[in-house]
């Protein structure tokens, strides 16, 4: 049986294909202006790469902010449930997932079957999200993909106290003006995100093993900052960004099952 999960997030669209409970492939593309098209586009691209025909797919589940606009999906499931399913698939021992995506961050508590027990999400604010990092990368004129590595070189992370993305950006600009080293500023930004997300995760309860998913998990600096704040190891697997889509594909398989 072949199932596909499509996760249309605020910044990127992801698709993952699962065959007989094995991840066969996944793909990421920018969501752009048209969320409806983004889901279909990433789905078609994935199928083309894997050389699988559309009619060979048994079931499709959509997730993410654009989940209800993916016409070819059989059903929509929230990214909270999908991230839990994806994390459980990667490591059944995981009981807590921190997912940081483009416009929101979530902490999810799950049970031994991968079902969501409780969750918390950031409030109406971009601080502690991928978008926050994007804004900061622009202010610092650093490629976002380099953020993680640069921050590891910091000797003294700068203090970023503002919770508001716009004000935090002004703070960063002041730090640049004061001649604060770039690596320290970036490490400070990561600490600020980690502080906010860990405080939220404590509401649902941080239980080891802790896993991080979502696009921001690609940033080693944030992962390290989370480990420091949560005071426990944080695991990240290779397809952390596509975890929601993988979870959606697994849920589709279970439903078809």
């Amino acid at each position: 049986m072949i199932t596909v999960g499509i996760d249309v997030g605020s910044i990127s669209a992801k698709a993952a294909l699962v065959r007989d409970n094995q991840l066969v492939g996944s793909r990421v593309a920018l969501t752009g202006y048209n969320a409806r098209n983004a889901g279909e586009k990433v789905f078609k691209e994935l199928l083309a790469t894997l050389d699988i025909r559309t009619d060979a797919v048994d079931r499709i589940v959509a997730t993410g902010y654009g989940r209800n606009s993916v016409d070819l999906a059989d059903r929509a499931v929230t990214e909270i449930t999908c991230h839990a399913a994806g994390a459980h698939f990667q490591d059944p021992a995981v009981r807590c997932v921190i997912d940081i995506g483009g416009q929101d961050s979530k902490a999810i508590a799950l049970d031994e079957n991968g079902r969501v027990v409780d969750f918390a999400m950031n409030d109406k604010c971009a601080a502690g999200t991928g978008r926050f990092l994007e804004v900061m990368a622009r202010a610092l004129e650093v490629d976002l993909d380099a953020f993680g590595k640069i921050s590891l070189k910091a000797d003294q992370p700068a203090a970023i106290s503002s919770l508001c993305t716009v004000f935090a950006e002004s703070e960063v600009i002041s730090l640049i003006a004061r001649g604060e080293p770039r690596d320290n500023i970036i490490a400070g930004i990561h600490d600020s995100i980690a502080g906010r997300v860990v405080a939220m995760a404590k509401r649902v309860g941080i239980v080891e093993p802790l896993m991080m998913t979502g696009g921001v998990a690609r940033n080693i600096g944030v992962v390290k900052a989370l480990e420091k704040k949560a005071d426990c190891p944080v695991s990240v697997f290779a397809h952390a960004q596509e975890n929601g889509a993988i979870g959606a594909a697994l849920i589709a398989a279970k439903e078809k099952g």
Binding site: Y65, T78, I80, T81, V116, V117, F119, M121, K124
Partner: protein, 411 residues
């Protein structure tokens, strides 16, 4: 206006509450009376939603509620304009949206009914929050009218004799205030009768709310939000008793006939805090989509929550406890106990808490209550962040995702 092209859904028609029409007529009459009070030589008092209205009814003063008006402003989606107007006047956007809407509305006679009638006096009871003190002081200065403040200390753990005596003494001062500004003596026999009707009205309201212990529930919290207006505004009158008698009969009939508020009710939820007035329909449809019915809430039950303290034979004396010990004037542990009682009484599967940016006293302690409920009943709960009147604090996709995910947990 109904769309002639749109076919009437008989299933939907059946679920409509028929008493709504009568309720709307009563509220229209009430506002006409209030707006024409001056022509009819009647006095108008503005009063806070948790304030003791019975002495006003006894003195034939028409009580008017800026908070009820705030709800109407919210429901008519006029909150943002008025809040912005208040912010232009210099009030902070962190201030309660009812206060902002009311303060702004008074200067422009805006809102869905062209503003409230001018008050002759203001009655402010701080059992609901501290904001009302400054809000009513602002209005007292604006309208140049006398203000009476009834101070009800916060009941952290127990209701002591000292607290009782303190509040009870102020009720006598309240009566003196009314005698002075109405120019006539207070009729204590009439007060007894008003007190009796107030208790009867509250009992009936509780009975109406309790019809949702039936499965399926004949009404939802969204219906309660609407039908609440009478017990708030006209408590202590025969009108309230008659109306809730009618509504109770209709609910009993619905139970007997198996008419449900939510088609194919599968999940029962408890709502905490004020409604999101400008999004009640959206929220009600969102929950109904998941076959979930909000069978009870901590908000509408506040207007009958202190019945156990009220005594028909000594209404004035028992009013002290009745008004000081309301839901949001007590400690978090006591609030949690009341939530737990409701979870059991109405057999709910989950708790939905509205963290209301405007109502800090109501929203403070929600995370603790959430934890207590999780520990003691093991039911899941959800916190959604919004505001009762200021729609700028509502983000549809964020709240939608939270509700969908919460329902996926419950299912």
């Amino acid at each position: 206006m109904s769309d002639p092209e749109k076919p009437i859904d008989p299933e939907k028609e059946k679920r409509k509450i028929k008493s709504v029409k009568r309720m709307k007529a009563i509220m229209t009459d009430y506002y006409i009376d209030a707006k024409t009070a001056q022509q009819n030589n009647k006095k108008v008092a503005w009063i806070t939603s948790g304030g003791p209205v019975e002495p006003l009814i006894t003195m034939d003063v028409i009580p008017v509620y800026p908070e009820n008006h705030g709800a109407m402003i919210g429901a008519s989606k006029m909150g943002v304009d008025l809040c912005e107007k208040a912010e232009t006047m210099g009030y902070a956007s962190d201030l309660c949206s009812y206060a902002r809407a009311d303060i702004a509305c008074a200067t422009v006679d805006g809102g869905p009914i062209g503003g409230l009638p001018r008050p002759d006096m203001l009655i402010c009871c701080n059992n609901i929050c501290g904001t009302v003190l400054k809000w009513y002081e602002v209005q007292a200065r604006y309208f140049k009218v006398p203000l009476f403040i009834l101070d009800t200390p916060f009941i952290h753990t127990e209701y002591t004799q000292t607290v009782h005596d303190y509040v009870r003494a102020q009720l006598d001062e309240y009566i003196t205030f009314l005698e002075t500004h109405c120019g006539k003596p207070f009729d204590h026999d009439r007060m007894m009768e008003v007190g009796r009707l107030s208790i009867r009205g509250q009992e009936l309201w509780q009975q109406v709310l309790d019809t949702t212990t039936n499965r399926p529930a004949p009404m939802s919290a969204f219906d309660a939000f609407f039908h609440l207006a009478l017990i708030v505004t006209l408590r202590g009158t025969q009108t309230v008793v008659d109306y809730y008698t009618q509504l109770l009969d209709e609910m009993k009939t619905r139970v007997a006939e198996g008419i449900a508020a939510v088609l194919d009710e599968r999940y029962r939820l408890l709502w905490d805090n004020l409604p999101v007035w400008y999004r009640t329909r959206w929220l009600s449809e969102k929950f109904a989509e998941h076959h979930a019915c909000l069978v009870a809430d901590t908000y509408t039950s506040s207007w009958c929550g202190t019945l156990k303290y009220l005594d028909e034979k000594d209404f004035l004396g028992s009013m002290a406890a009745g008004y000081a010990r309301i839901y949001i004037n007590i400690g978090t542990d006591q609030m949690a106990d009341m939530v737990l009682d409701m979870v059991n009484k109405y057999g709910v599967d989950g708790l939905v808490m509205h963290s209301n940016r405007s109502c800090k006293p109501y929203s403070l302690g929600q995370y603790d209550i959430q934890r207590i409920v999780r520990e003691k009943c093991g039911i899941p709960s959800l916190v959604i962040e919004s505001d009762m009147t200021d729609a700028r604090n509502f983000s549809e996709s964020q709240i939608g995702t939270r509700i969908d995910a919460f329902m996926e947990i419950i299912q």
